[in-house]
Symmetry: C2
Subunit: 229 residues, 2 copies
């Protein structure tokens, strides 16, 4: 059997979350937070939508995190090696957002957040953590939108993301001003201006959107969503 308070002797002490605790606090951690669990190659650490109130510290081995799109295609968002702490983008939702699968036999420590939250966290801290976690999720989404997608998909996703933002903040979802230039949009999406321009023109011809200078109108939301798929 392992030493039940092995955090004190762990090689990851300096980076692991419990490191911020004084030793009396370490005892507050659940027993499960202190004993590493072995995951064999190709076994799943967590899956999307699975309730998650923990982080995982990789003591040895490695994992890949990935999503599966509507056509069943895997898209890897990150690799993590020994010494990494994973699962941070799940804090905001309280549920995993990706699959996480061992690439080889690996040992991971589960770090339950609940105890930490209850004992130490103030309202501000939680708010900030939520924000950071949410932002991490958004960054992942943007990455997914740029890697392995066509120029048309990128532009369509971009328009939807802006539309979603405005909707979330009480503005019209279907008509708004794009404050950035086409050049900036192209740069952000990793495309040439000319390509963005051509796609706006094509989307207009298809009747999906309309533009008057910087004002953009979404004319056919289902069609736009279908482009993203």
């Amino acid at each position: 059997m392992r030493n039940p308070i092995q955090c004190n002797h762990c090689s990851m002490q300096s980076i692991c979350v419990p490191a911020g605790l004084v030793s009396s606090d370490v005892e507050l951690l659940d027993k499960s937070s202190r004993e590493p669990h072995v995951y064999n190659k190709r076994t799943m650490v967590y899956s999307p939508d699975q309730p998650m109130h923990s982080l995982f510290a990789i003591k040895s081995g490695s994992v890949k995190c990935y999503t599966i799109d509507s056509e069943g295609k895997q898209q890897i968002t990150s690799f993590h090696l020994a010494g990494d702490i994973i699962g941070m983008e799940s804090i905001a939702r309280g549920a995993a957002v990706t699959y996480c699968e061992a690439l080889e036999t690996s040992m991971l420590c589960e770090i339950k957040l609940s105890r930490l939250f209850a004992q130490n966290f103030t309202g501000v801290d939680k708010n900030l953590l939520q924000l950071l976690s949410k932002r991490l999720g958004q960054r992942n989404s943007h990455y997914l939108n740029v890697v392995n997608t066509t120029a048309e998909q990128r532009v369509a996703s971009f328009i939807m993301a802006i539309s979603d933002h405005f909707a979330e903040h009480g503005f019209s979802r279907s008509e708004f001003r794009l404050p950035m230039t086409r050049t900036d949009i192209a740069n952000y999406l990793g495309l040439a201006v000319e390509t963005v321009s051509r796609i706006f023109t094509s989307l207009k011809q298809q009747g999906v959107i309309d533009t008057q200078q910087s004002i953009l109108t979404i004319k056919n939301t289902p069609a736009l969503e279908k482009l993203i798929a």
Copy 2:
């Protein structure tokens, strides 16, 4: 003059960081945290390496965040609209990592972290925030590595990132095992397997790296670094 405690009446109350505070705590915030500042179009909110111990809440308007690479080329990493809170990736370094420029006349509230940290944060909280902020920075880097770069640059950056990780954790920087398949690397970098395979072959022929199955040896670090630049 504005109401000095207008956080209480702000439309962003539900999302803004001070929202986690009870009203007595709001008074602890610096005066500057409660009064929005106007940024005209094309003016800079912050620049890389500038010491930063604040977040910014966008009350109105919009900004773009971007980096400038060694050749002077701008790469936009994010856009932010009214209702967003920005600057989270700076927490880990205590300094800005990107430029942030107003796209139109915008009002931003500065939220100083120092007071919040001093009053409310425990060691764990800080650790977690550091981790999340650092991860956010890494995600940005990976994004920068995939957008607007050639296949060779992506693979070279990937190898360097793995090398850096091992070095950080006390392993050899120049010889290590890649635990993931070429297919996984390709997927992660948004490339075809064949392209990754060809680039590994080419890097071997150039004498930059060597591979024996999954063991990778970096033979010429300066050359590898030069490929990324």
